[in-house]
């Protein structure tokens, strides 16, 4: 469904991604982990076709992004790490504003998405007046508006309380069951374990681990996800 071949990204003369290569089948969920500055957000931008790589290619269903990027983006839902919402507008207005659907359908879809994330009560509130966790949920709601085939979520649970994290997780598991391919990033793998089937660990822009969840957990003697991540990162140094 999605494949990345030799993705390279530079900021000036500094390379932040060094030839990242992997592929995902439809319905698979990839957890992307690594320390700060390892290149997770940059890689997610590229996979969501929101930024171009300096080298390498991204393919969706075998179609090379590039001149087809605009068409392929229609099938992608993207929630960047920063809150990409208009603070001056209400939640409802943000959902309508970012929707690709015609007005009437967009209104129905906005209500449906808001309801699935327990945002119905917040629809009339200005985004600027919401807490960080609430904004994060609205940020995810925007990504879900177009019923995407690929969801790219950069730290989707950051700042969200436990109750709503569970709600979001349930929704994403349901999306996975429906065959939506997902790539999610985070610092701690524990929270994402119920959702992900694959794990990629980045360190200094290089892939230091890519495999299924079971082989990732095997890295730690006791099968603890946090310790497995530490071990993977430690062995990379």
């Amino acid at each position: 469904m999605l494949s990345a071949e030799g993705i390279v990204r530079r900021y000036g003369s500094t390379a932040v991604l060094h030839g990242i290569t992997f592929s995902l089948e439809q319905g698979e969920s990839l957890g992307l982990f690594g320390p700060n500055g390892s290149g997770k957000s940059t890689l997610l931008d590229i996979l969501a076709l929101a930024a171009r790589p300096d080298g390498g290619t991204v393919r969706m269903d075998g179609i090379k992004a590039g001149s087809y990027a605009a068409k392929l983006r229609r099938h992608i839902g993207y929630a960047p790490q920063e809150i990409a919402l208009f603070e001056e507008l209400t939640v409802r207005e943000n959902l309508l504003c970012w929707s690709r659907l015609p007005s009437r359908e967009a209104g129905r879809k906005a209500l449906e998405t808001a309801s699935s994330l327990n945002l119905t009560d917040l629809l009339g509130k200005r985004v600027g007046a919401l807490s960080g966790g609430m904004k994060r949920r609205v940020n995810l709601a925007v990504a879900l508006l177009s019923d995407p085939e690929l969801l790219v979520l950069d730290e989707p649970f950051a700042g969200v309380d436990a109750e709503h994290t569970d709600c979001m997780l349930e929704l994403l598991i349901e999306k996975k069951r429906l065959g939506v391919t997902q790539i999610l990033s985070g610092h701690s793998p524990e929270a994402l374990l119920p959702l992900i089937s694959r794990v990629m660990v980045l360190s200094a822009g290089r892939t230091v681990f890519f495999g299924d969840t079971a082989s990732f957990l095997d890295q730690a003697e006791d099968g603890n996800a946090g310790r497995a991540l530490k071990k993977v990162l430690g062995s990379a140094k």
Binding site: D45, A48, L49, A51, A70, R74, S99, V142, L145
Partner: protein, 409 residues
């Protein structure tokens, strides 16, 4: 379309901004009606008769009155009739043959020379209060200017006497210099050009220039909210989300350009009724304004497009929001000073005046001034083309900047 509507809603969501938009034109109207309008009417429409009773009879005062009577400059403002006695002057006022009688008492010039306080009396009926007020203010400032000049010339005469110049020759110098000073003072319009306007303060003030300057300055200041929103969107994740949500660089650019244009246009929108009012007032009061509302709208649209695209250029080529805002603010300040919106262009150093001629604020001011007051197709088209040329450069520069920011996200 939906994206554009929400972008407009964002642009007008700031209460302070909306208040500024509403208040600034009102403030301008207040300024216009309280200060500028009397000047306009004084210069272009209001014409009245003035009787002067000169009991002083000194040569400089006679010269001053002579200049008043024969002045080409004041011909369209006031007709001056010397009268031998105050009684006759009062009769003329009572019978409405003249609006005002100015009484210059005996010994006025000698008192001025001696540094004593002097007093000129003005008689008028309440129906002519405006004219009386204008003449009072004009005489006050004139006496102040003449008094100062007189002191300087007296000092020069004393200096000549001290340097062993014959006192007759020094007196002659004083007399000639006084005559010349009065002549220069009375003919300021010729020096400043026919379009200069006599203000109640007794100074020539080209109100045509300042009215367009105020609106152009506000239009340029309206770039700041556009810079704020565009820079914030470009430096955050909005642009990246926009790409993924189908709001690509071009659509984003067009939406922001139009929102910015509308904001700048609204700041200037009061110019249109002003233009109609000026035209109507000119016809009623016998003025001679050549106003073209269609040209006013055209230049408002062009300058809105120009300032909106300039705002996008600033916010996309400067990497962070705060530096972009400061750059925008200082650019407006520089344009206001060098473009002659804060300081009249004639008072600027040559280099600033030269640069100012090529700044969009100055060009917008000139074009507005022409469309509101002295429409001349050739001159107007020249300024309009200059604004269009700015747009031709700024529009692609803004798009490239935004596109580059999208690529680099």
């Amino acid at each position: 379309m939906r994206f554009m509507l929400y972008d407009l809603k964002r642009m007008f969501s700031g209460k302070a901004l909306v208040i500024m938009l509403l208040i600034s034109p009102l403030a301008v109207i207040m300024m216009f009606s309280v200060i500028f309008a009397p000047m306009l009417y004084t210069a272009k429409g209001l014409h009245f008769k003035l009787a002067v009773c000169d009991e002083d009879g000194s040569a400089p005062v006679r010269e001053f009155i002579n200049q008043l009577v024969n002045s080409q400059a004041l011909a369209e403002l006031v007709a001056v009739y010397p009268v031998p006695t105050t009684d006759l002057g009062r009769q003329l006022v009572e019978s409405n043959d003249v609006s005002i009688l100015v009484h210059i008492p005996e010994g006025l010039f000698e008192d001025m020379r001696a540094g004593k306080p002097v007093e000129i009396t003005i008689f008028s009926k309440s129906a002519h209060a405006l004219e009386a007020e204008l003449i009072t203010m004009t005489l006050e400032s004139s006496l102040y200017a003449v008094g100062k000049a007189q002191n300087l010339m007296e000092s020069a005469k004393d200096f000549l006497v001290k340097k062993d110049i014959a006192s007759e020759a020094a007196e002659e110098f004083l007399s000639e210099a006084t005559k010349k000073a009065i002549s220069e003072y009375m003919e300021r319009r010729e020096i400043l050009g026919k379009s200069g306007t006599v203000s109640p303060m007794g100074e020539y003030m080209p109100v045509e220039y300042y009215l367009s300057a105020v609106f152009s300055l506000f239009a340029a200041l309206a770039m700041l909210p556009v810079i704020h929103y565009t820079a914030a969107d470009c430096s955050g994740a909005i642009l990246r989300r926009g790409l993924v949500c189908g709001q690509g660089s071009l659509r984003f650019y067009i939406v922001r350009l139009v929102s910015g244009m509308l904001l700048v246009f609204l700041v200037q929108v009061m110019l249109f009724p002003s233009s109609l009012l000026l035209g109507a007032a000119g016809s009623l009061l016998g003025g001679s304004y050549s106003t073209r509302p269609a040209a006013t709208i055209a230049v408002m649209l062009l300058s809105s497009l120009c300032f909106s695209s300039l705002a996008i250029v600033i916010s996309t080529w400067i990497p962070a929001e705060r530096p972009a805002l400061w750059t925008g603010f200082f650019l407006v300040l520089f344009m206001a000073v060098a473009g002659g919106a804060l300081i009249p262009a004639g008072a600027l150093p040559l280099w600033a005046e030269t640069i100012g001629k090529w700044l969009p604020l100055r060009i917008s001011m000139r074009a507005l001034s022409l469309s509101l007051f002295n429409y001349n197709r050739g001159l107007f088209m020249r300024e309009a083309l200059r604004l269009a040329a700015f747009c031709v450069v700024l529009l692609p520069a803004g798009f490239l900047g935004l596109h580059g920011r999208g690529r680099g996200a």
